[in-house]
Symmetry: C2
Amino acid sequence: MKSIILASTSTTHGGTYLSYLMKQLEKLFSSTNEIVFIPYARPNGMSHEQYTQIAQDAFDPIKKRIVGLHTFNDPIDAIKNAQGIFTGGGNTFLLVSQLYKYDLMHILRDAVLGGTPYLGTSAGSNICGITMGTTNDMPIVYPPSFKTLGLVPFNINPHYLDPDPNSKHMGETRETRIKEYQTQNSIPVVGLREGSWIRVKGDSTFLRGPHSARVFEQGKEPEEVPSGSLLNEIK
Amino acid sequence: MKSIILASTSTTHGGTYLSYLMKQLEKLFSSTNEIVFIPYARPNGMSHEQYTQIAQDAFDPIKKRIVGLHTFNDPIDAIKNAQGIFTGGGNTFLLVSQLYKYDLMHILRDAVLGGTPYLGTSAGSNICGITMGTTNDMPIVYPPSFKTLGLVPFNINPHYLDPDPNSKHMGETRETRIKEYQTQNSIPVVGLREGSWIRVKGDSTFLRGPHSARVFEQGKEPEEVPSGSLLNEIK
């Protein structure tokens, strides 16, 4: 049975890494003391070692051992045998490129479909959509494809941000960008605000956390979906 | 002799399309009454026709005829024979995909190197860098390459935005994103603020307009370069 948490962000304003989510993570990973961490997205270009240590520090209070995927000789085997998996945020283009490089995309998908508990934050959530086409990140490397895990039947826009009515900046708003995406693609998009997350349990997909999500379906006006909603009907 | 204006934005806050730049455009396009407009970036998903009309309206006061590239049977020939070229902003992934689709990338490069006056705004400026790797846009389509025109020896980040010290949003700042880019690439990046532009005349490349630019070189602290500076030394 699938058991997944897809968080908009690892850290909320004023909090520490994953602190706002720790109660849910204790439940998600209740069956294991060891979690394989995928550090490939490298926020701020930090090393895999540094990033894994940040994850370890966050999980110390609930006594989970974090093992960086970069420490295994055979990452495919590591994912297949993992009792829990966490993909951290950073740059989605880099993360997706590395997953393809090590031929991990379908292995990771199979593991999570087979029931390995999975946590994603930001880029680590983005890759659970059908494609990475609604990432906010810069295209710092060229991945072999934008196709991702498809563990939910829509795309995710993490760190979803409402337009600032006082802004004098002329760059596109997030909503404009997502609507541009849907001029070229029919895939629905869930704009996930910081502090909220998507919880998948078997065949049910719920929105959790303090905020509503903004759901974009091609050819329709965007809709505010309240926290607690079942997201299964988005497709 | 190359003659190029690369603007951060088409429109500044409170202005109309290209209004802040019209004096410079009158000089740039002084030798022609007809400009070929490349509408492929389609901001807000608008049609090529709609977008070309917006450009025409902007150029009416200086009596230039705007002809959309989409109206030619042979776009390669149209670029080769153009007396002036303007590429509008929108989505860089879409723009680059279309330029590759019609085999226009090298044709456009040759035309501008050969002296055809060129205006780019936003995505239309971004494509004059070495790659599109520092665009702000969403990857709404998958282009065959991120390589672009290389008409300047650096990459451009249009709509450059300074971090907001009061923001509670946890998404990356623009500076963080560009630094992440340079963990993977050695290409310098010019962060071009809205209202400023790059002016290339032959072998000289100047920063123009009201703002300094923020210049990022790999392994160095970012530097503020004042308007009026020669940018030739960035490489």
